[in-house]
């Protein structure tokens, strides 16, 4: 599989705002890539630069190996599904979907054939003569997708396309989009702030934060091995604490947190006395009524929250920080107010390099000197 989109050293600056910072991203052919991040992280700007609505301040964007950053949107072989759908209100559904082909001067019979085929594919048969205002949100969404896909683009750009739909419809459309993408084998670049959506649909996720890609990996890799503190906090729920590695024995690091020591599997790129962050998913967290070896955390059970299949336990640490622990409902639990000892299997927690670890490096250097 070749690379279909290559973004190299792209910066976008609006006045004083540096929205996208030295972005490098390569997208493979037929891939479903999601740009995930909170609002203002530069994900939509990145997408708009690929579409041609914005010009990068510096850097190059290549589609199918050809530089496009100076090309107008109508000269690019990519199509966009807009957040607000941007359907033409004065045109029928048929004419909306046919628009791209009409602009390419495709013969009328062929347009008709292809539009009807596309309408069938997105389950809109029978709506040809209606206007966008006569359709529901979900149907408009399908029109927007059909209108873009009918041009058989090499890359389809989707800007939060499901944002305006209700939860149930959104879940249904997620699966449908994924199905369409596999069937047509088109590269999708998908922008969303919904981490669950990203995890469900993507082949790879680029988590963006403050104009920079924090991590680019598969959904499971991102969930299980977040590369930065931001990714750990943004994707799913996590208990995140800063600490210092105070001992490494047999590949297990002892990390001293404010509330006590914990044990964790230590990847090779971490060193003694490094300042690091520990991230543990609530479902990986356990607690015992007796102290556990390697863990010095002591806490008090504060509350139980029943949320269906699981029970959320809130335990509070001596410094009043809270830990979230998930248990399957129905298990026996210590009463509220009693003492407990949180712990986890050493392989279930993740150790993350801390952005401010250079302070400790500096201290290390002084010691070595």
């Amino acid at each position: 599989m070749g690379n279909i989109v290559e973004i190299e050293g792209v910066n976008k600056i609006y006045g004083k705002n540096h929205v996208v910072k030295d972005l490098n991203l390569t997208i493979k052919e037929g891939e479903f890539l999601t740009l995930l991040g909170s609002s203002g992280c530069g994900k939509t700007t990145t997408l708009r630069m690929v579409a041609g609505f914005e010009e990068p301040t510096t850097g190059t964007i290549k589609v199918e190996g050809e530089r496009v950053e100076e090309k107008e949107p109508f000269e690019r072989n990519v199509n966009t599904v807009f957040q607000s759908y941007a359907l033409f209100p004065h045109k029928t559904i048929f004419d909306n979907i046919a628009y791209g082909l009409k602009m390419k001067k495709v013969p009328k019979e062929e347009i008709k054939e292809r539009v009807l085929e596309m309408m069938d594919m997105v389950q809109l048969t029978g709506f040809e003569k209606r206007y966008p205002s006569q359709l529901s949100g979900g149907q408009r969404q399908r029109v927007a997708i059909a209108r873009a896909l009918i041009n058989r683009p090499r890359v389809l750009l989707l800007d939060e396309p499901l944002g305006a739909l209700d939860l149930k419809l959104r879940k249904q459309m997620q699966l449908e989009l994924k199905r369409l993408q596999k069937k047509l084998n088109i590269t999708f670049i998908y922008v969303t702030h919904d981490q669950e959506e990203a995890l469900t649909m993507s082949d790879r996720i680029a988590v963006m934060h403050d104009g920079v890609i924090d991590q680019l990996a598969s959904p499971s890799e991102i969930y299980e091995h977040p590369a930065t503190k931001f990714v750990a906090a943004f994707i799913g729920e996590a208990n995140i604490y800063d600490g210092c590695i105070t001992g490494i024995t047999d590949g297990i690091a002892t990390v001293t947190l404010e509330n006590g020591v914990v044990s964790i599997r230590c990847p090779e790129d971490f060193s003694l006395l490094e300042y690091a962050t520990v991230s543990v998913r609530p479902e990986k967290m356990k607690f015992s009524t007796t102290p556990v070896e390697g863990f010095g955390l002591q806490a008090q059970v504060k509350d139980y929250i029943y949320v269906g299949a699981v029970l959320k336990c809130i335990v509070s640490l001596p410094n009043r920080n809270e830990l979230k622990i998930e248990r399957l409902a129905g298990q026996e639990l210590p009463p509220i107010g009693s003492k407990c000892y949180p712990y986890w299997d050493v392989d279930d927690a993740v150790l993350i390099h801390n952005e401010s670890h250079y302070i400790f490096e500096a201290i290390n250097n002084i010691k070595l000197a």
């Binding site: 041609g52 609505f53 109508f74 602009m103």
Partner: protein, 290 residues
């Protein structure tokens, strides 16, 4: 459900208090004068030009004489040309002010509004001073030796049209501005994204979606144009009479109020028909500001 008498009475007083004053003003300022004009158009005049209550349709019959028909045609031609010119000049201008993102937007918009603060009669006199044989334009042309003797610029059809366009173009720009400003930028992006070149986007998306602005602007230019008698009076000098001039003359020098009233009724009917056509074409009454 049928309302009891008590409920009806309970609702009457607040209804009177809220809608009453408006209705009163409407009746006093619009309905009564209109009825007055309509009745007047059916009256006759005696040999001393006094209005008498002998009802007749003669006034309407008089409207069909050849001289008047010529003036109606001339009015329609001038109003049509004025409307077309207003569209051609107003559209690009409105497009620029509506789509520009810079701070100049407000200044440009104010440039359209500010002339409203001065009486249009005075502004038209300004044009006469500017264009007259001893006016600034002729002085400039002569001092630059482009012409040897003053050029007669006034009292031509073109001069009247110039004055009309000048007076009425804000009425074209404002509805156009509203229509263009409402245009969703993402539609233009979508069009371009789907392979449309700028000209194609204009004819496929921008023009159809702003046609309501063109419609209402045209109506708001065309109708007043028929009645702006002072423009053709001052700049046309009697060579470019329009329906408005005819009406004015009957009430002033002609002193034939019933005939003037009949002309006014015709003008009102023409206006109503145009508005009706506008509505039939899907025009939005709100965008007319009425």
């Amino acid at each position: 459900m049928k309302k009891t008498r008590h409920e009806l009475r309970a609702n009457t007083l607040p209804a009177l208090l809220t809608v009453g004053p408006v209705t009163l003003i409407m009746v006093l300022l619009i309905a009564i004068p209109l009825i007055y004009v309509a009745v007047m158009s059916l009256c006759s005049i005696d040999e001393f030009y006094n209005v008498t209550l002998d009802f007749t349709t003669d006034n309407y019959m008089q409207l069909f004489n050849a001289d008047y028909l010529k003036i109606y045609m001339q009015s329609l031609v001038i109003a049509t040309v004025t409307t077309i010119l207003c569209i051609l000049i107003g559209y690009p201008f409105s497009y620029v002010i509506a789509r520009t993102k810079s701070k100049k937007k407000k200044i440009l918009y104010m440039m359209v509004i500010i002339p409203f603060w001065t009486n249009s009669l005075i502004r038209i006199y300004g044009w006469r001073t500017f264009l007259g044989t001893s006016g600034w334009l002729n002085s400039l042309l002569m001092s630059l030796h482009i012409v040897d003797e003053p050029v007669e610029l006034l009292y031509k059809t073109g001069t009247t049209i110039l004055g009309m366009v000048y007076c009425l173009i804000p009425f074209m720009i404002l509805p156009l501005y509203t229509a263009i400003e409402k245009l969703d930028t993402s539609l233009l992006e979508a069009s371009s994204d789907l392979g449309a070149k700028p000209a194609e986007t204009f004819f496929e998306v921008i023009l159809p979606l702003t046609s309501s602005g063109i419609f209402s602007g045209s109506l708001m230019v065309f109708i007043p144009c028929l009645g702006y008698f002072f423009v053709s009076d001052i700049l046309g000098g009697g060579n470019t009479d329009m329906i408005g001039n005819l009406i004015e003359r009957q009430f002033q020098s002609g002193n034939n109020w019933p005939l003037g009233a009949a002309l006014s009724i015709i003008l009102i009917l023409v206006t109503l028909i145009l508005v009706k056509i506008y509505q039939k074409l899907g025009g939005d009454m709100d965008s007319l500001g009425v």
